[in-house]
Symmetry: C2
Subunit: 255 residues, 2 copies
Amino acid sequence: MENERLILVTNDDSVNAKGIHALVEMATQFGRVIVVAPDKPQSGMGHAITINHPLRLAETTIFGAVEAFSCSGTPVDCVKLGIYEVLHRKPDLILSGINHGENSSTNVLYSGTMSAAIEGAMEGIPSIGFSLADFDANADFAATQYYGAKIIQQLLDRPISPSVCLNVNVPKLNLDAIQGIQVCKQAHAYWADRFERRKDQFGRDYFWLTGEFAAVDQRPDTDLKALKNGFVSVVPTHFDLTSHETLQQIKHWKI
Amino acid sequence: MENERLILVTNDDSVNAKGIHALVEMATQFGRVIVVAPDKPQSGMGHAITINHPLRLAETTIFGAVEAFSCSGTPVDCVKLGIYEVLHRKPDLILSGINHGENSSTNVLYSGTMSAAIEGAMEGIPSIGFSLADFDANADFAATQYYGAKIIQQLLDRPISPSVCLNVNVPKLNLDAIQGIQVCKQAHAYWADRFERRKDQFGRDYFWLTGEFAAVDQRPDTDLKALKNGFVSVVPTHFDLTSHETLQQIKHWKI
């Protein structure tokens, strides 16, 4: 079909993750799906791109009838390679995930899943990142598929600015326990980081990043609050990092 | 001195880059400097953090009398390790750079230099990222040092929200050709990506990311415009990626 909708699917947990297979299953009802996703886990890679090493791309049959490629790079590399070396055109839709683990609040900055969607927005392509608040490799993605399909349909029916993508997070609840969908703000929160310091076999220190997520945002309409109340959160997310409020304050700085 | 200002310096070009040595030289006039920076180039790493490998930290004498550590991780890892494992307190100021190459416009998302400053803002620490529009390993950082010191002094004299950092870019011009400083917006621009496809010794394809930077933003008060006109650009930069405009449009989505 000439006019069939073309959908690029990626993630950051790699082509082997259960979440991307759930996403492909959900996406196929909306058009022709092509997967370009990392060949190994790329969690926490944020908006990283690979510029000091060459990139590799390999066709894989792991998605059965769905055309798919694994890529040696980051999620953002996958979007760029997908558009320019696999599709040779911009897809009609980019879907990223389903991430094993939440990408609400400021986690959007660390998230490879969401960075792929933001890269899509930078290319002017409607894009959605999906995350489930469950790190389990065998997590149940049924509720995410149910609400995810509704959100895709809504975006197709009522397009938003192509410079804005959607950050969708789903609480770890059974489908019938989920309260619905809330469109909301990115909560202000941060990681109270700690490192676990260990000794290697030569007695030298090494560190594992750990920490606790500290929600400091008391506003009612944030993604963290929505998730806590059992809703699927949808945050319209863009790539303009300008603080317009501070800009107004300091634009007449005389230096 | 008990109350001496404590300044954490990092970058993404590694402890070996000329730019970070120029930044340390500039920073020492404002307080006690401690360097925690990558042990190898980490350009393009964006807001990546290292969660699947352990991190290493090694003291280095490469900065002479200035206490310094090289780290196996990303610029954001350096900020986290710097605060929690080296300083064991929040510094009074975080300075990142001076990057060899411009980080204006949407490059802020790919930039390790700026992601370190944004991480500082997430920790509520006044932070500035400095970049010079010159990729040369032997670039001349004199003008950046001159204007950089003025901007640091201004931020110390007139603090802004600690959740907002500054993205400072300096054009590749002699000091006397620079027109001054402009506080401005992040321009909307993007990389028209291309890949250079080559064959390895086994005849297999590999790809190098390349492309052209396409400025699509005609607004007068952007960083790209300021740099083009010979000004040092200063963009107040935050970590709230919510598109509040789209949020207003879609907050009553009935799904």
